[in-house]
Structures are given as C-alpha cells and as structure tokens.
Subunit: 420 residues, 2 copies
C-alpha cells in the first residue's frame, strides 16, 4: 500500500463537473489500495474575483489582509472536494493550512514553509479517510494566515509529500507531462518519461511552465518523486526524480540516458550593455549592487577585456524589468562613470539542458554548429554544469528551438541519442 499525494490546480477545480472528476480520480487511487492526500488550489477565477473585491476598497492593500482574503479560495475548494468525495461514498476530511499544520515564516504573499506537523493528516489516513488539504496557504508562528505565492499549491503538495513520506507526489494539470520543448513551438516535441529535478529546475527557470521552480527545489532537497499527469487525459505522464545522477535515474527507469533532455526558450529577456565602465576594482560590483538592491535578477553576464582602462559589461535581465534596470543604471551613471548604456529588448534566450552533458563533451560544439548552419547569430553565451544558454535575436527563437531539437534528435526516445 502506497501513500500518494495528488495535487489539482485551479483549472481542474473550475466547476462542479470538474470537481467530481477530481473526486473520481482520488477515489480510484484510494480504491486501488493506496492512502491518498489531495492538495487543491482555488477554483479558476476565484483569486481574481477576490482581488477585484479588494481593489474596490484600496489601491495599496496590506499583505496580511490579502492573505486572509485569498486563503478563502482554497478553503472553498477543500470543502467542495470533500463533499464530492463523500457523495461518491468516500470518507473524506478537509484540512486548512493551519490545521495540517503548515507553518511558514511571516512573509505574507510569499511565505516560506518552515515545518509541517503531519500528525492530523496521518491520523485521518489511519482512519481510512481521503485527506483533502488546502494548497497555497500556511500559518506563521504567531497564528497569522500566510500564502506561499504564485504556484504555491505545487509547493504545498511537495512539502506535504515530504512530511508524510509519500511514495509519489502526483501533480495534475491540463498538460500530460514534461516535453522536450514547447509543443506549441515545435510539433515534434516528445513527452519525457523521466527527468531529474536538476534538469527540471533548469527547464522551469528557463521558461517551461509546468512545475513551479520552488517546488522542484523542495523535491530535490527532500527527495520527493513528482509525477506530472493530466487531469483530463489518462497517460503515463512524466516523472521528475531527485536522483543526483540522471544517467542512473534513466537506467532505473529502464532506458539509456540522454545527454540533452530538452530545449527551453525564454522571450522575456532583455540585453543591456554598459559601455566604457572604468576598469577599476568595485565598479562592476557597484553596477550589480544597484540591481540586486531592487531585487532584479541578472542572468547572463559578459565582461570584455579592458581597452584603454575601460571595458564594456553586457548582461541580461527579465524583459519586464528592463526599463527599471535602465533607470537604476542611469542613476549610477556619475558614481560609476560609464559612458553610455544600451538596452535591447528584441532578444530571447534559448537553452539546451541535460545532466548528461556533465560527462559528455561536445554538446556546445553541436549546439553552436546547428545554430550556425541555420544562420542564427549568437549574441551571448552562458553555461552551467547541465545547460548551455545562448542569447539570440528574438526573431529566430522558434527556428533555433527546432534546429536544436533536431540536432539532438530529441524526437527519438533515448537510446540512440548518444553524441557521435
């Protein structure tokens, strides 16, 4: 008998019919002999409805009260799902964040989970009940309601799975798994059977939207196995596993490992160049300190060798904060003493990801070759142990994704994809 945590998002809870479908899925798992904990989000549209009510009263709401307001969305969901389960003959019991108890810090709107006391859940499971837990919400040490921020229900599910030592954490959504690239960009995209958390993190942070990055970090840290499935279509889904060595993970799942597992792209990218920065200690640091103080994340950074005591510094930031970054840089103009500042928003970042490239040289070569053959100019390059990112002209984004998908033969099930 396994213990399974199942998480259903807002679109899966959008109507009575869908809630009944969710109940049937949970009950089928329970009747197959497993213990089941279900984590749910607010019904689709409910959070917007609540924020709309608040916006009629104030333009600058206090975070604490917004959390009290928004937490009702998941509370409605757990009650309705428990009722649907009971109607289908199950013993179901709902739990709020403070009842579980999911204790967080006091950062309203983006609280971080500190501890979970899974005792009440374990007791209800021992009674044979299906346990229904409100996602997205917690409680701080002083008893204030908190919320976990965007995608927080994924995090609730993974954290609960860790706390109750679940055998798997099933994340249901309207897509049936993780793909080698966005199927809307390239129809040859293939569903991935198994991916490591590290690879998933690179894909998620680079623009893939299936799983919230914080929940994958949590899964990696607490060794939770995530299974991404569709609420609406039966299928094998994709496993996201915490195994450090993806080759090993692949072997465990009966496959030879792929070197590159997927191609990510991110159009929300802007490329800033600060010309003529004095080549003195601390100048570059001053540049980035201004951005860090404003919580602007800097991604790729390139600094050219200095000529005549001055250098050019290039970096990328998210496209939607580019204007703010330019403002902050210009405010530092006199203090740093750079000459001019360029901002280019017409760029995109395309990345190949694969833990296998740790042990396989030649990935970068194959990547650059493929892009070059397609006539795509590389503006910036950045690499980590398991990914290579290039910044290119935004107009070539789809083309780049396709030629890279072809170059690494990602449409094929791994086994024949080892580098030549």
């Amino acid at each position: 008998m396994s213990l399974i945590v199942q998480k259903f998002g807002g679109s899966s809870m959008a109507s009575a019919e869908r809630i009944q479908l969710v109940a049937r899925r949970a009950l089928a798992t329970h009747r197959a002999g497993h213990r089941v904990v279900v984590v749910v989000s607010a019904m689709a549209g409910e959070t917007d409805r609540l924020l709309q009510l608040a916006s009629q009263l104030t333009k600058k709401p206090h975070d604490r009260e917004i959390d009290v307001l928004l937490a009702t969305g998941e509370q409605v969901s757990i009650a309705l799902l428990a009722l649907a389960l009971q109607e289908q003959g199950a013993d179901a019991r709902s739990f709020l964040g403070h009842q579980v108890r999911i204790e967080t810090d006091s950062s309203h709107g983006q609280a971080r989970i500190q501890t979970i006391d899974a005792e009440p859940v374990q007791e209800a499971l021992a009674d044979g009940a299906i346990v229904v837990v409100a996602g997205f919400q917690g409680v701080d040490a002083a008893g204030n309601i908190t919320t976990l921020g965007r995608g927080g229900s994924d995090l609730s599910a993974v954290a609960l799975a860790a706390a109750v030592q679940a055998d798997a954490c099933e994340i249901y959504s309207d897509v049936d798994g993780i793909y080698t690239t966005d199927p809307n960009v390239y129809a040859k995209a293939r569903r991935i059977d198994v991916i490591s958390c590290e690879e998933m993190l690179e894909l998620a942070s680079l623009g893939a939207k299936v799983l919230q990055a914080r929940s994958v970090e949590f899964a990696l840290k607490y060794r939770v196995r995530i299974h991404c499935l569709s609420t609406f279509v039966d299928g094998p889904g994709s496993w996201v596993v915490p195994d450090a060595d993806p080759q090993e993970a692949a072997m465990q799942s009966g496959m030879e490992g792929a070197v590159v597992i997927g191609i990510a792209h991110d159009r929300n990218t802007a490329w800033l160049t600060v010309h003529g920065v004095p080549d003195q200690p601390g100048k570059a640091a001053a540049l980035f300190r201004a951005l860090a103080n404003d919580h602007i994340n800097v991604d790729v950074i390139i600094q050219n060798p200095a000529i005549h005591g001055r250098t050019d510094v290039c970096f990328t930031v998210a496209g939607n904060v580019a204007d703010r970054a330019v403002e902050l840089m210009n405010a530092q103009h006199d203090a740093i003493g750079f000459t001019t500042l360029d901002c280019n928003k017409g760029v995109a970042k395309v990345s190949v990801v694969g833990a296998g490239m740790r042990s396989q040289p030649g990935v970068a070569l194959r990547m650059f070759q493929a892009l070059g053959d397609a006539g795509i100019n590389i503006l910036l390059i950045s690499t980590s142990e398991i990914k290579i990112s290039v910044v290119i002209d935004d107009r070539y984004t789809e083309l780049a994704v396709r030629v890279l998908h072809d170059a690494f033969e990602l449409e094929k099930v791994p086994g024949g994809t080892a580098l030549a």
Copy 2:
C-alpha cells in the same frame, strides 16, 4: 475610554460602498476615543452562493465540510473590512474564529460557544488597532471549524463583548431599534428606548426578528448591554439591558416603567388536538416524548379534565413542523390509545410582553377584554411571569395586534401607561 463591540450583518456588508460605510462608523467610534472591536457577517448573498455550489455536488452534505465552506464568507468580510479601515487610515487587524479564539462544542452548524480566549484581541486593542472579528464561526477543541447557526454573528458579538468586558455591544442592522410591535402590522408602533433581556427574549422567541434569542440569553447571563442601531440612519436606537428588574432599568434610563412593553405575533403556529387520550399515568408523557425525540418544540399545552377516563390534550407547535408532528402522533396511536387527532394550521399566537406584569395584576383581564370587544375568540391561553399568549384564528392577527397596542397605549412614551 470605553470598549465597544460593534456587529454588522450581511446587508451592511453587501457591497464595497457599504463596507466603506461600516469602516467609517467603526473609525468614528475609534476617533471618539473608544477601543473598538467589530464583528461582521458574510456579505449578503454569499452564504447562498456557497450553499448553491455545495448543492451541485451533494444533496446530503456533511455538516463538518459545510462549516468549512460557510466560514469563508465571514473570512472574506473581515479581510475586506480591515482593508477598508486601513485605506481610511486606521490600524486594523482581522481575526478568524480560531484565532480569537472562540472555542465551541462540536455540533457543526449549530455549535455552542464554550470559551473565548480574548488575549489576541486585547493585545491588538492595546496596540491601538481596530479589531475585526469573523462572526458566526468558531473552532472545536480538536481544531475543526464550526459555525454557530442562524444569527450566529449576533452571538459572536455578545460573547466577545462578555469576554473583553465591553461597555456595550452595538448590533447594527437595517432597522433602527426594537419596536412595541411590528411597524408593518401597525403604523403606531413606537421604538422602545430600553427593554430588559427577559422581555426581549419573549419578544424574540415569539416572532420579533431583530435579535437572535440565543444572543439575548447570553447577554442576560454575562450581563452584556446590547444597543440596537441602524447602519444607515443615525438615531438613539434601543438598549437591551440585562437588569433583572425592568422597572429599575427603566428608572435608570430616566423613565417610569411600562407594564407591557410590546406585542408580538407569530403566524408560524399550528394547533393540534389529541382526542380521547386514556387518563392514565404516562400517556401524556408518551405523547410528548415522541415529539421531543424529533426535536419538535411544543409550546402552549392544555389538558382538559377527564371525562369517562379519557381526556383531550391540545398543544401548539411551529407551523412548519406540524405535518411531521401529526405523523409522529399517528405512529403512537396504538401505543397511546387515543381516538382521533385534529391539526389546525390556520391559527396564530399573539402575546403581550412586559416584565412589569410580575407586580401588576390586571394585564390578562385588560387583554381578554380588548380582544373580546373586538370580537376575537381566544382558542388557547398560555402565560409566563412576563407574558400572556393567546392562540387565535389567523385571520384576526393584525386586528388583535392593533387593539392590544391601543389597549396598553404602547404608542405613548412610558410614564402615563400604568394600569388604571
């Protein structure tokens, strides 16, 4: 500096504009130098919306989950009111039932308050904050969300007022006080300045709808002074005071006491007659036990002297449970051995209420005289220390209310109304 608890119902919270009005009232009290605790109900219509969602999923919902569902209504209200208060420049802090903490028994849907730990409220008040508390909800000893039943927010307010030793509990609604009788029935109805809890209890349980009876019982027990006011119109309102002696209460408020304070009527009444009940010990008890087991409240009871070893037993029940009562009686037919059963739903109960009648004889005489002069036949009579009720043909209800209101000169401010 006084400590005031203010309670606003669903119609006072029905829109952003009304919530802003509630915030202005609370803030005005606070700025007048008082400490303020506000208790609110769910926005008008919200409870029905939630029950409608549940009804799409099940026809026989479990009470525990319905409580989880309905408690969100008040949670939304406290967050919105706190936001509105903050927008108006106040320091406001919201509290849920479990945060206050309002601990109840585990009777979901009709829980009874056991204890209140007002510490968090006192701390917030000491910080200078306006405290906003969710009405209608509590938490049982095991941490399950409970609700207090119809009108439960009144009860929350009175119980909180007792727990924090408030100087007054202001109950705001869309009427501006307690009236000598229903103004829709008789335009001469006069707003009462001061009424005792005992009198209010008789009026409330007899059909007046301003204050929930349980909250008045609570006020009497814990000596809370209730002030009934209109949310929308400024005015002196009506005080409901726990003083045992209403004459004394009246004196304190600078008035001579009235013997009769109001006329109540209740059309939700049915009159059952069980004919030919054997005049043997235990037979009548068996009759009423069947009703009590089904939680049917029996009001007026008359038993005629036995003739030839048999007697007729008459009693009234609420009109909406009359059919069920008949069913239960018939099921006992053989066990009890009565002959026939009549049920008359075309009756109403009209009552004169006044604590002064304890010490003033002649009230019954004047009542029966007035009804007789108007040609109204009395079917049943029942009395308590401070009220006299008669059951009459429903067609004469309005007439009876008017002639009794005139007979006791209730349109006049007390002072000249002593019995001749």
